[in-house]
Structures are given as C-alpha cells and as structure tokens.
C-alpha cells in the first residue's frame, strides 16, 4: 500500500482527497460524516456575512442518458451564522485533529473585514484559509468573489491583507472566467499566497426550458447565469492547473486542483499535472461522500502498480510533457489499425472518418451481410478519430510507424537548417469544382 499522505504548504493531510467549498461542506455535521467516510480534508463552505439564497439553485446537463455530466449553481456563500460555524469548526477539529479543515472566506474588500474574520476562524482551529476570489454569481455583483479574482491587482492586494492577518497558510481560489489563468496565479503569489486552488466555476447557462423559454435553473419567470462544474469542466481545469504548474513565475506554488473530479483516475491526472491535493464537489453532490472509497483504493493500487511508495512521487510527472504546438515532432507518424477479430461491424469508424475526418476508411458489405471496414493506410493521417468513436475496447489502435524519418519540430522545420525532410502526410487536392 503506497503512502497517500501529502504535505501542502506545511499542512499534513492523510490523503490528497479534499472536499471543495460548496454545499457538501455547509455544516460541521456534514464534514464530520465526510471525514468518517475517508476524506482527508475539507474546505468549509465560504464564510462571510450570511446571505439569503433563492430557492431554485441548481441545474445540470445530461449527456446521452448520463445524469449531471455538467452541473451549474446559483447558490451563494453560507447562509448560516458565523457563530454557529465557528462552534462547529472547533468541534470538528476537536474530533478530527488529523484531518485538514480549510476555511473559505469572502468578505468586503477592506483589510479590517478580512482581519476580523481570519482571526475568528484561526481561533476556532482552521488549518488554513482559502480566499474565495472565484464565485461568479451573486457575490461578484457585490464586489466580491470573481470581481476580485478577475482583476490581478485586487487579487494581489487582498491576498496581501490576508497574509498580514493570517498565521496559517493562505490559499487563493482562482476563477477560470479570465483570459490567462497564469496572470491570476502570479498575482496571488505576488500577494504572498501559500497555495492556489482552481478552478472555481465557469460562467454558464445550462439550458432553456423549451416550454416556458426560461433558462435553467428556473427562478419564477427568470434565470441567471450560474457557475458551471462537474465532469464536463475537467479538461478546462486540467489545462489551467498544468499551465500554472509549468509557469516559471509561479514555480513551486502548491496547487489544490478542482474541477470534475469523480474517480481515482481523475485524481491521478491532476496530481500528474502538478496538483498536491484535489477538491471534489459535484461527484459528492451526485453520489455522496462514499465515492472517496474508490479514490483511496484506486490511487493506491495504481501507485503500487507503478512501483511508487508515495503519492508524492507522482506529482508533476506530466507537467513537462505539455509543450507548445510548435515544439511537437511533426514527423511522428501513427496509423490506425483495426483488429478485425474484435470488430462488431457497426460502421461508426467508417462514417466518422468519411464525414468527419479524412475519408481514410473503406466499408464494404460482406457475403454474410456485415459491414467490413478497413483503414486506407495511404490516406490515414493518424488523427485518432476512429479509435475514439469505436465502441469496442482495443479494437482500433493507433500504431507508430517508423519509416526512418527524423524527429523534427515545427520550429526546426521552419528554420534555416532543417534536421531532415518532412515526412509526407496525406492531403486532399481539389475535391469539387474546376481548377
């Protein structure tokens, strides 16, 4: 069994699995149950001046019958009194001294307000605080949340105030509703942040009620944009995590990764791209706290299979495997190969390639009335599409071809002295019309 414990800016966590600041961390009772289930840490639902929510708060998108592929909320920060929350923080830490309790905070943009609440939650036993600069709805209109996170100067300044008041580590939670996430991370670091958490939710409208014409979630006869999260946002979040991890200006800044995490594989991907801990919300809102069991066992088994003693060995291994497009080897050649023994003759690869890619798969009707597909090797650009649509595992593989071609990046190809020839790739000439 590999060691899953991690240390993030001085805080020991029994494992990297944390709950994100959200409805699953609204109360001490919930967090206690989460810790019983196996979560290593929890970021308390954002404290500040308690608000009043609308009733209808969530909406989601289903994909091909799967519920909640993407999830959206217009819920605000805590609606509970600070006094109750402080009592519960103290009680949770008393019962679970080894679990990490991070308190998410959002108050008006003045140093006194931050100083007051930071001292209160530290007094209650917070292991760290997380500055909520990401909430994209409701609070931002009041000059908080993403209204701060979208302006690097504000991020830097307010992080600085928090650092002056805090004795525990300060996490800054970043909004993805920004052009270049690195700018926000740099601003947080400049302000003294000990770590960043990302991503917060993405501005979204999940859909429209086609009878009432009101977008979802429907609040009476109107709606409002919300914050999007869940499995659908993971690729966006992974890219942002990776870009911060690779940014020399934020080198060494610990990352708590957030966005669409539901399985141990998701966790492993975040850690490979530089995260130290991860935070989960939507998957727990869907299935409950018990999903962490699969994360424990899955990540542990995976690390064992890789011969790793600790999850720390995994961290960042993929960061330097992300590069700019022009640094990719344009002479890396792959071709699709179909295992005819596994093929079920659905023809999906054929029509995908025919209509959606490069017309490099043939289809013919066999004597027993089945669709037999075959790769036209000379036309295959190795785009991967057929292997992506194939419903049979391992039926279509992308296989590297070594024709003795030279490794060559676009930069090298475009330079004065090319290291070799560009290996030819299939292209269509004129397809309709007269030359």
């Amino acid at each position: 069994m590999a060691d899953l414990s991690v240390n993030i800016c001085g805080i020991e966590s029994p494992n990297p699995f944390w709950l994100a600041s959200a409805p699953p961390t609204n109360t001490g009772d919930q967090i206690a149950r989460a810790f019983d289930a196996g979560w290593g840490g929890a970021v308390w639902k954002t404290l500040g001046d308690p608000i009043e929510n609308v009733y209808s708060r969530y909406s989601s998108i289903d994909f091909n019958g799967q519920r909640m592929a993407g999830f959206n909320n217009i819920e605000l920060i805590t609606d509970r009194s600070l006094e109750d929350n402080l009592i519960e923080i103290q009680e949770v830490k008393r019962r679970y001294p080894d679990n990490v309790v991070v308190i998410s905070l959002m108050v008006d943009s003045n140093p006194e307000a931050w100083d007051t609440i930071i001292k209160q939650v530290e007094q209650a036993g917070a292991d760290a605080i997380e500055l909520n600069f990401g909430c994209p709805h409701g609070m931002s209109e009041r000059g908080m949340g993403s209204a701060v996170g979208q302006v690097p100067e504000y991020t830097c300044d307010i992080t600085g105030w928090a650092k002056e008041s805090a004795t525990v580590p300060v996490f800054v939670k970043l909004t993805p509703n920004i052009t270049d996430i690195r700018t926000a991370a740099r601003a947080a670091k400049d302000g003294g942040a000990d770590a960043v958490s990302l991503i917060n939710t993405i501005n979204s409208i999940t859909g429209v009620d086609l009878d009432s014409f009101v977008p979802r979630p429907v609040v009476g006869d109107m709606s409002s944009h919300g914050g999007y999260c869940g499995p659908a946002v993971k690729p966006i979040a992974l890219n942002m995590v990776a870009s911060i991890a690779a940014d020399p200006l934020t080198e060494g800044l610990p990352i708590s990764g957030i966005g669409g995490i539901a399985t141990w594989q998701d966790v492993a991907e975040y850690i490979l791209l530089g995260a130290t801990t991860i935070q989960v919300c939507t998957a727990v809102m869907h299935y409950g706290y018990r999903i962490v069991e699969g994360m424990h066992e899955g990540l542990s088994n995976y690390l064992d299979s890789k011969g790793m003693q600790s999850v720390n060995e995994l961290r960042g291994l993929s960061v330097n495997k992300v590069t700019d497009w022009q640094s990719l080897d344009i002479n890396y050649v792959i071709k699709a190969e179909i295992d005819q023994d596994k093929c079920i003759n659905c023809g999906l690869c054929y029509i995908a390639c025919q209509d959606g890619a490069h017309q490099a798969i043939s289809a013919e009707r066999t004597a027993d009335d089945k669709t037999k597909v075959a790769i036209i090797e000379d036309l295959c650009v190795g785009c991967n599409l057929c292997s992506l649509v194939c419903p049979v595992q391992g039926c279509i593989e992308m296989v590297e071809r070594d024709y003795g071609q030279t490794h060559m990046t676009w930069n090298e190809y475009a330079s004065e002295d090319r290291p070799g020839d560009l290996y030819p790739r299939p292209k269509h000439g004129l397809t309709i019309g007269q030359p």
Binding site: G65, N345, G347, A363, D369, T371, P391, V392
Partner: protein, 440 residues
C-alpha cells in the same frame, strides 16, 4: 372445443409484455450505437430506420420517432409486438457481437408508436382525393398496409373482409402474450382514421361479387391470407376436444378458455404449433405436449419461441406422428407411431412402434390450406404448385388491375412481411393509377 369454453381466464398468463416506461425507454435508446448502414434496418422487411427512430426517442421527439416508424411500416405498433425481432432487427444488432444484450427494438418501437397509433395524435395530414378508388380483399396485415398507404396518397380505399372483426391474423391468430386482441383492433381503428373504409362480414364471392369489385374500383389488391388448418384424416378427429390450433388461439383471444386439468397435445412443429403450446401452458393445462414427426433441428418454429415453450413447461415429443384419436364423445388418447429416416432420407413410420399419449385436447397445427378455389374464380390470376398466388416484383398478378400480397403470396410468413408486400403493392398501384390518369 366446447369443453374448453368455460369462463375463467388466466389473465396473468395471457398478459402481453408490458410497454416501456419513459425512463426505461430513455436508457435503452441511449444504448443504441447508431450504426452506419445499420444492420437492424437492413434486417427489417419494411426497412424501418431503426437507429433514426431510436435516437429520436433519446432526444425526446416521440412524434418524429413515430413518424419515422410509421412511414416505413404503417402497422409499426403491431409489428413492435409480434415481429420475431430475435431473428430480424434485434438479431442483427451488433451488440450481440459484443456479448451484450441487443437493443430491445420491439419494445422501443411500441413505446414510440403507441401514443400515435392508439391515441389521437394525427401525424399524417389528410391528402386531396385523387379520384381513384381501390378495392382490397382481406383486412389482414397486407390489406391494411396496402389500404393505409393508398389512403395516405389520396386514393379512396374500401376493404372487404369476410371476418366479423377486421385485422386478420393480428386480430384472430396472434398468441395473446405477444399482442392482445384489443390492441390489434385499436390499430385497425388507426388505419381507418387514415381514410380506409372497412366492410366486415363481407366475403367476396359470396356477399359481394368480384365483378362488382372490378367495376367499382380502379384496382384490386388481394390479401386474403390462408385458410383453416384442414383435418388430418385421422379416426376420432371428430371427437370433442379436437380442433384447428388457429381456432383455439382465436377462442383464447376472445376470452373464456380454461385448460385447468386438461392434457393438451399440439401436432406440428411450426410457429402456429409453438404459439398454441405456449398459449395452452399459460392457460393452466395439466400437461402440454408438442408432437412433431421430426427432430428439434427441423422445426420451423423460431429458437426463441421454442425456448419460451420449453421454459413454460411444454414437453416436446419428437419423431412421432398421430395415427388416431380415441375417446368416447370427447378425446382421451392420442395414439401415435414413431418415425425415423430411412437410409435414403425418407421419413417413415416405425413398424410396431405404436404408443399412446393421454390427451383430452388435440390441436392440429399442421399448416393452413390455400384459398385455391377462390383464386380460380379470378381471371388472369395464377397460382403455383403450392397454391400461392403468382406475382411479379411489384406484386402484380396476371390481371393488370389486380395485385396480391401477404400470406396468400408467400405461403405464410410474418406480419411484417405482409406489411412490406402491401406497401410495395400500394406504391405500384399508385404508379399505375397516376400513369393512367396522366395518359388521359
């Protein structure tokens, strides 16, 4: 038959497979891979765009889904229930090769069509009358299909049917656990709603002459199906309890058949025999035997139907032919002989092999006879050696104004085959009528 006609009915055993709930349909619809040049569509005699209608279910467009089905097969609601999907669309589903359960196409099709066919969602707009009139003989699946397609094209359609109720085999001859009679009759109402007039209890040649039909209509479609199952010529076949298996099924469908305490022997190895035994087993019979002169592999019944019969407790007696029926007043014993193949592959009775099966109900399912004598009254219409009406690839008979399709042409196949015939014949009739009109 009389002794079978009591009042109690084992409704549980007769109930057709329940229709899908919206949730079940949605999950199932999303399982469909949406194959290119889909094998399910190719396996359908009416070429229903199966992935097309299934994805419309998935995307919440039931009206579009129903239209996709019904434009290919106007009797899509009954075919959804009675088609042997295991050997047609679902049998061709590529998921079989993934060792997964194939898509439940039949029940999805019922889900998609029921609201349209059994509700009042009119999805086919009425068409301006063409001024042409077509007479159809027989209100079974081929006649209804042909009539519906012609009515949709604006032609006046009158269907003449000898039965007291329309629908043919769909109404009288389908095993109840596949589709009940009420469902069949509701589908006929849907066809009538398309503009098809049906005159029941009107036998052509008896109640109305073929000459009248020829003068009243511009074209005629013959979809008379097959006749009754003729007696085997056995001693004792006139005893009470001995019957035509199709009559038995028709009685079951009218309700009031109770077989508790009865020992039922069904003679035959085809689809009617298998329907009869499965039906009998569901009606409380003490023992149900299928008596067939050859082996299991030679049965014409579908494997999935054979499995259903076996799992219903039916006992299969192979290599056996009945030689007589004994009993006083009503059947008590089926006297049989063993059969075997000779070295030159002839099936013969084994000498001295006589044995007895206790049977109080004996049903013959040994093949329906053809309406040859009726066809003989139709000038220009030819039949082949098997008594089947000879047609060309457009289902035209030798009479240029007469088409034919369904069981009377193919000798007895599925409802969906009859629907395909009716549809193709309708297209041919429409072409002829319009060409003739243009020529004027």
């Amino acid at each position: 038959m009389n002794q079978m006609m009591t009042t109690a009915v084992d409704a549980g055993g007769l109930a057709p497979v329940p229709t899908m709930s919206p949730d079940e349909a949605l999950v199932e619809a999303h399982r469909c891979l949406m194959c290119w040049d889909a094998p399910c569509t190719r396996a359908c005699p009416t070429s229903i765009d199966v992935p097309g209608f299934i994805k419309k279910i998935a995307h919440g467009d039931l009206t579009g889904s129903a239209r996709t089905i019904l434009e290919s097969n106007i009797l899509g609601a009954s075919c959804a229930r009675v088609c042997p999907t295991e050997v047609l669309c679902a049998g061709a589903c590529v998921l079989n090769d993934l060792h997964e359960r194939p898509i439940d196409i039949g029940r999805l099709q019922a889900f998609a069509t029921d609201d349209v066919v059994f509700g009042d969602l009119g999805i086919f707009p009425s068409t301006q009358s063409s001024g042409h009139s077509v007479g159809i003989i027989g209100a079974g699946p081929s006649g209804l299909s042909c009539g519906a397609e012609l009515a949709k094209l604006g032609h006046d359609v009158v269907v003449y049917d000898a039965g007291s109720e329309p629908g043919g085999l769909n109404t009288y001859g389908v095993a109840n656990y596949k589709m009940d009679k009420a469902t069949a009759l509701r589908e006929v109402e849907f066809v009538k709603g398309l503009g098809v007039e049906i005159r029941s209890a009107t036998a052509v040649g008896t109640d109305v002459s073929i000459d009248d039909l020829m003068s009243d209509h511009d074209a005629i479609f013959v979809g008379v199906g097959l006749g009754s199952i003729p007696p085997l010529g056995l001693d004792g076949e006139d005893l009470d309890g001995v019957a035509d298996a199709l009559d038995f099924i028709a009685h079951v469908r009218s309700g009031g058949v109770d077989l508790h305490g009865e020992r039922v022997a069904v003679i035959g190895g085809g689809n009617t025999a298998i329907d009869a035994v499965s039906q009998a087993a569901r009606l409380g019979a003490e023992r149900v035997y299928l008596v067939y002169r050859r082996g299991r592999d030679e049965m014409r019944a579908y494997p999935h139907d054979i499995e259903r019969a076996l799992s219903s407790g039916v006992e299969f007696i192979h290599w056996t032919v009945p030689s007589r029926i004994e009993g006083s007043g009503s059947a008590a014993t089926l006297v049989c002989e063993r059969t075997e193949y000779t070295d030159d592959d002839r099936l013969v009775n084994v000498e001295g092999s006589e044995y007895r099966i206790s049977a109080t109900v004996v049903l013959r399912a040994t093949g329906q006879q053809k309406h040859v004598s009726f066809f003989d009254t139709l000038d220009g219409v030819e039949t082949d050696a098997g008594g089947r009406v000879v047609v060309d690839d457009e289902f035209r008979t030798g009479d240029p104004r007469m088409w034919a399709g369904g069981d009377c042409v193919n000798g007895g196949k599925e409802v969906v085959n009859a629907v395909a015939h009716g549809k193709a014949a309708a297209a041919s009739i429409d072409r002829m009528l319009r060409t003739a009109a243009d020529a004027k």
